[in-house]
Point group: C2
Chain length 342, copies 2
């Protein structure tokens, strides 16, 4: 049995104005009729493979999580008293699971086209995890992205590989050599390991953190499906990412390569690419008319959008905000007054 | 004394969605804080040169006209019972003026930057009109526009010229030869002549029309500042433009060249050019943030517009409509579902 641990963190600003503080990215129906969070839950719904999930989220989003959870899912919700990055979030769930539970750690705001390939990779990773490995998904690098970390594979290891090294977000030239040389995958933040192994490695590398976490869980309160760790103990923790705190330090790291139509929907062009496009490469949601337009994204929650002669342009109408950007310009969405003053 | 006759006709669809059936182009503050109609009135406000104006408009726009008229203007309003193009509209005013009154016929939805040059040209045209001429303004052709008619000047005549011929909207190649050869001006629909001379020429060339017009005026009703011609008589008239009905047929036509920063504000790029631009060539009205944008028009009546990386793009937010078009694409605005289904 594999235990999904689904991380519902911050909303980010790169899909502003659609994604905002009060309706953040994981909970929006960005690709298809269900939200990315709902799709993440659905992806691990096969109870012959997966146990009921743990959802780790902040108090601000706990209601959204509850609203979008199917009551039959049996999901449990870990409500973080503060945002401390991914290592503490994952450890909270690990501390509430049996030591030998195989955990599948997933972000809640990514899109995965091929669920079959995903589940196959989970099974392969689980086999390595049972041998005491901490397994990262190595997502097939299809373009020289500079916005992701990379994983360089080492020697073969079962259905996967040892990890030679983790690489921080590279510059464009470096990213291109990665693709040309092969052996590099994207680090998508998806991990599989035994709860006990993860906690042992965290204890070895960040003993301070694990002590605070144990105190937070021991002082915590169960309230229906929700578990609330002790706020004071948790607040005292020095947060860190799982990559820095554990994965880049442990000698037990492994990688399972996977090609599953993955996207982190990290900006408007990424969302445009994940959506089904018409014959002119346009993706249109809401009332709109596009004349002589190619590779245009239009999304409106009400007003009609009329577009003429545009190429590689993203138009988003959401409430009292209208965004019009080139695909390249979309990298700067987070710096707009509207996005940064929420 | 020169009698302004200001034509407030249809609204058109080329500035949709800002200009719409219920708030048409002449009555919008498109350039500066006052409407084009108000600017047209203001341009002839010097009572040492101009008499109080006649406004010719349809019943649908009579209220808008009244609202925007200064009560002290002494303006009279001719309410057309139907739209019959410019020749009948002008003749209605001519029939209510003394025969020797010098009329200045002006559209109400054009922009003129240099009022001094305009008034100077009116004086020169009036001198020719007193000699029995029908004078068209020959607007300096600064670009090879294909959307205007052209006037080819002939022999010198006082402060102006005889008219060699009127030219229909040319194709791009022809328009370029006009500019290269010189002697061609744009026909901006601005005319100066004596009421009696105009009526005599209309009688000569369109006797059917003049009979219907006289009946409409004789059966008309004065209501305060408004005059309502008899609807049945007016409805029976076969409408026509002043160009076709009179100017292209008369032997009394003359042209006065004028350079006065004229624009018919005939589409969004024309409006962009008429407005004061910032250092990046942008014109922004309403709440907006433009990042890495050049030669962009943004106009919003409420929602904030955030634009990134755009060049030669027009963004217009008006109520429940959002238009985003290239400058070239703006020619097609009138064909949009939204613009054509008003």
């Amino acid at each position: 049995m594999i235990h999904p641990v689904i991380l519902c963190g911050g909303s980010g600003t790169r899909l502003w104005p659609r994604s905002r503080a009060d309706h953040p990215k994981p909970f929006l129906p960005l690709v298809g009729p269900s939200s990315l969070f709902e799709q993440t839950i659905e992806r691990t719904a096969d109870r012959s493979v997966f146990a009921a999930p743990w959802i780790v989220t902040g108090a601000k989003h706990a209601d959204l999580v509850s609203q979008q959870l199917d009551s039959r899912s049996g999901a449990r919700i870990m409500v973080e008293p503060a945002a401390k990055n991914t290592a503490p979030a994952i450890a909270l769930a690990a501390l509430r699971l049996p030591e030998d539970a195989i955990m599948l750690v997933c972000p809640s705001d990514h899109y995965i086209e091929d669920t079959g390939a995903f589940v196959d990779a989970v099974r392969m990773a689980a086999a390595l995890a049972q041998d005491g490995r901490l397994v990262a998904f190595g997502i097939e690098a299809v373009t020289p992205e500079t916005g992701y970390g990379y994983i360089k594979r080492g020697a073969a290891l079962g259905a996967g590989f040892e990890i030679e090294r983790f690489v921080e977000k590279p510059d464009a030239v470096t990213a291109k050599t990665f693709l040309a040389n092969g052996g590099y995958s994207w680090n998508g933040g998806i991990f599989v390991f035994e709860a006990g192994v993860f906690l042992a490695e965290l204890t070895a590398h960040r003993p301070d953190m694990i002590a605070g976490l144990r105190a937070a869980v021991e002082g915590g309160v169960q309230d229906g499906a929700q578990f609330h760790p002790d706020a004071a103990s948790f607040a005292a923790i020095e947060g860190d990412s799982i990559d820095y705190a554990v994965m880049e330090r442990t000698r037990r790291a492994a990688v399972v390569p996977v090609s599953m139509g993955w996207s982190d929907i990290g900006n408007w062009p990424a969302l445009h690419n994940a959506r089904e496009q018409d014959g002119d490469g346009n993706t249109i949601i809401g009332p709109a008319e596009a004349v002589d337009c190619t590779n245009v994204l239009i999304e409106s929650d009400g007003p009609r959008v009329s577009a003429i002669g545009l190429e590689n342009i993203m138009i988003v109408v959401d409430g009292d905000e209208v965004l019009v950007t080139t695909a390249d310009g979309a990298q700067k969405v987070g710096t707009l007054h509207g996005a940064s003053s929420q």
